[in-house]
C-alpha cells in the first residue's frame, strides 16, 4: 500500500495533466480517472484531491453521489435496467441469467434505473455501449467486443 500510493498519485496526475485545476472540472476529472481504474479507492480519491486542490472529503462526497461511480469491486460494470418497462419485458430473468454467466468473470452485473431505451426493452449499458432488446447472447458479444477494443 505504502509503495503503491506514490505510484497511484503519479498515475492520476498524468491522467489529469490536461484538466485545469478548477472546481468546475471535477466531474470531468472524475470521469477520466474512473474510466482508468473503474473504481475510487481512497488513494485514488486522495490523488484527485491533491491534483485538483479540493479537500478529500469534498471529492469523496462527489464520487459517492453518483451511481455510475459506485463500483467497489472494480469489475467492469454491466448495468441492466430493471425499471418498470424493462421489468415487463423480462429484465429480472435477464439479470439472473447474466449473473450466472458472469460469475467468475471480470464483469459485474448491476441493476439500474431507467436507461431511456423503453422502446427496445430490456436494455443494458456496458462501457460506452447501449444494448437494446438485450439478450444474454447480445450482451456476451458486446462484452467480448469491448475486451478486444
Amino acid at each position: 500500500m505504502d509503495t503503491e500510493k506514490p505510484a497511484v498519485m503519479a498515475e492520476v496526475f498524468s491522467i489529469l495533466k490536461d484538466i485545469p485545476q478548477d472546481r468546475s472540472q471535477l466531474l470531468v476529472a472524475l470521469w477520466l480517472v474512473f474510466e482508468h481504474y473503474q473504481r475510487f479507492r481512497p488513494e485514488i480519491v486522495d490523488a484527485v484531491s491533491q491534483y485538483m486542490n479540493i479537500p478529500y472529503a469534498e471529492v469523496y462526497g462527489v464520487t459517492s453521489f453518483y451511481a455510475l461511480f459506485h463500483n467497489p469491486d472494480g469489475k467492469n460494470p454491466l448495468h441492466v435496467c430493471t425499471d418498470v418497462m424493462c421489468a415487463l419485458q423480462g429484465a429480472d430473468d435477464l439479470v439472473k441469467k447474466l449473473q450466472a454467466l458472469t460469475q467468475r468473470s471480470t464483469v459485474c452485473v448491476k441493476e439500474c434505473p431507467c436507461l431511456g431505451q423503453c422502446d427496445a426493452a430490456p436494455a443494458a449499458f456496458f462501457g460506452k455501449q447501449v444494448l437494446r432488446r438485450a439478450t444474454p447472447d447480445l450482451i456476451a458479444q458486446a462484452i467480448r467486443g469491448e475486451d478486444h477494443a
Binding site: L27, W31, V62, F69, D83, V84, A87, D119, V130
Partner: protein
C-alpha cells in the same frame, strides 16, 4: 390527423444528422443567420409570441424565461441545455439528439445570443454515450460554421454519472460546478442566480429544438400546429404494451386514445389486448384509466380535468395483466433510491412509502399515505420529493378503479 414531423426530420431525408448539409436541409442555418441579425429584444418577443412552453415537464412559457435572464443584473450569463433525460419511460430527447442533434444545439446558440451568454453547457446523462458522441460531432459542425468557439459561444459538454436528481435544474447547476448534484432552495431562481450566482437559462433539449424551428420559419407557421393555448407539437415516448413503441411527434390537442391505437402510431394494445391504464408523464406522473384516456387530448387543460399533466411526454401503457400495485412499488423504490437525501421529507418520506406499500398493500393505510404525501409536497426542497407520491395519489383518488 396523424403524426406531424417538424421536430423530427422527414423520413426521406438523406443528409447525415451532424452534417453541414443537414443544417441547410432543415433550415437551421437560415434560423441562425436570421437570429444573428436580430436585436435580442426582438428575438425574445418572437419566442413569446410563438407561445412555446418548456418541454421538460414544467411547461413554463419559454419567452418569459428568456426575458427574465436577459433583464437580470449580472455580468456573465450562461445557457444550459438539459439533456440529462432520466425520467422513467422517457426517451424523446435521446431520439431527437440521435436523429437531428443540430436542431436543439442551434436552439441553444439562439438562446445564448438572445440572453447575451458567451458560454453554454450541454449536460447529458452518462448512460447516453452514443448520443454524446453524436452531440460532439454536431458541435464540431457548428464550430466549422463559426457559431461555436472562443469568438462566438463556447460550448462545453458535461457528462452526468448516474443521478436522476441531476436533471432537476438547480441540482444540474451544482453538478456542473463540480459539487454534489443536490437541488438548491428556490428562490432565487436560476434565471437570476444560476451558475456561479450569475443569470442562467436552462432549457430542455426539445424546447430548444422548437426555438430553432420557430426561427427557421415564423410565428404564424409555428402556431399552425397545436392548440391556441399550447402551440406546436410534442414528442411523446410510447412504451409498454403497445404494438409500436417509440417516439412520435403529434400536435398539442391530439386525442390521447389515438396515440395508443392509431395504426401509424402506437398501433393498439399488445399483451392481453385489453388496456388497464397508462402512466402519463413519468415516475411522478398520473395514471389514467381507459375512460379517462378516451375523454382527453394531449393538452394541459384537457388533462388537468383529471389532475394529470403531460410531464416529460412519457406514455407507459399497461395491459390488464399488470398489477398497478406492483408498478407503484417499483416507482416507490425508484424514488427512494434516487432521493438525494438532502432534505428530510423526501429522504424519509420516500422510504416510508416503500415500507407502507410492502407491509400492507396500497389500501391498508390510506390516510397515513395521504398525510405523508401532503408533508412531502409541502416541505420537500425540490420536485422529486414534492411529486414522488403523485402516481400513488392518482390511484387512491379513484377507489373504485379495478387493477390496484
Amino acid at each position: 390527423m396523424r403524426e406531424v414531423r417538424r421536430l423530427l426530420p422527414p423520413l426521406d431525408i438523406i443528409s447525415a444528422p451532424t452534417s453541414m448539409q443537414r443544417l441547410k436541409d432543415r433550415g437551421f442555418s437560415r434560423a441562425m443567420e436570421r437570429v444573428l441579425g436580430m436585436d435580442p429584444r426582438d428575438i425574445i418577443a418572437e419566442v413569446k409570441a410563438s407561445g412555446i412552453k418548456g418541454r421538460g415537464g414544467a411547461a413554463f412559457p419559454t419567452g418569459f424565461k428568456w426575458e427574465s435572464v436577459y433583464e437580470a443584473p449580472g455580468g456573465n450569463r450562461y445557457v444550459v441545455m438539459n439533456a440529462d433525460e432520466s425520467e422513467l419511460g422517457t426517451f424523446k430527447d435521446r431520439a431527437l439528439l440521435e436523429y437531428d442533434p443540430l436542431g436543439p444545439l442551434v436552439g441553444m446558440l439562439i438562446a445564448a445570443h438572445a440572453v447575451g451568454a458567451k458560454k453554454a453547457y450541454c449536460y447529458i446523462r452518462g448512460e447516453y454515450r452514443p448520443i454524446e458522441r453524436q452531440m460532439v460531432n454536431a458541435l464540431q459542425t457548428l464550430a466549422d460554421c463559426g457559431w461555436v468557439g472562443p469568438h462566438a459561444v463556447e460550448v462545453e459538454v458535461r457528462r452526468g454519472a448516474g443521478a436522476y436528481i441531476a436533471g432537476e435544474e438547480t441540482a444540474l447547476l451544482n453538478s456542473i460546478e463540480g459539487k454534489r448534484a443536490e437541488p438548491r432552495v428556490k428562490p432565487p431562481f436560476p434565471t437570476s442566480k444560476g451558475l456561479w450566482g450569475d443569470p442562467t437559462l436552462i432549457q430542455n433539449v426539445e424546447t430548444l429544438a422548437n426555438v430553432t424551428l420557430l426561427f427557421a420559419h415564423d410565428v404564424e407557421w409555428f402556431r399552425q400546429c397545436g392548440s391556441p393555448q399550447t402551440p406546436g407539437t410534442k414528442l411523446v415516448s410510447l412504451s409498454g404494451h403497445v404494438k409500436n413503441p417509440g417516439v412520435y411527434e403529434v400536435p398539442f390537442g391530439f386525442p390521447m386514445a389515438d396515440i395508443i391505437a392509431d395504426p401509424e402510431l402506437g398501433g393498439g394494445i399488445t399483451g392481453s389486448g385489453r388496456l388497464r391504464a397508462i402512466l402519463l408523464g413519468g415516475a411522478a406522473g398520473t395514471f389514467l384509466s381507459p375512460d379517462q384516456i378516451s375523454a382527453t387530448v394531449l393538452d394541459y387543460g384537457s388533462l388537468g380535468t383529471f389532475d394529470a399533466s403531460i410531464g416529460s411526454g412519457a406514455i407507459m401503457v399497461f395491459d390488464d395483466s399488470v398489477d398497478l400495485s406492483w408498478v407503484l412499488r417499483k416507482l416507490a423504490h425508484f424514488f427512494a433510491d434516487e432521493s438525494c437525501g438532502q432534505c428530510v421529507p423526501c429522504r424519509i418520506g420516500t422510504r416510508r412509502i416503500v415500507e407502507m406499500l410492502a407491509q400492507g398493500g396500497l389500501y391498508s393505510r390510506v390516510q397515513d399515505l395521504r398525510d405523508l404525501a401532503q408533508a412531502m409536497r409541502d416541505a420537500s426542497i425540490c420536485g422529486l420529493g414534492q411529486t414522488a407520491p403523485t402516481a400513488l395519489l392518482s390511484i387512491l383518488d379513484r377507489p373504485n378503479w379495478q387493477g390496484a
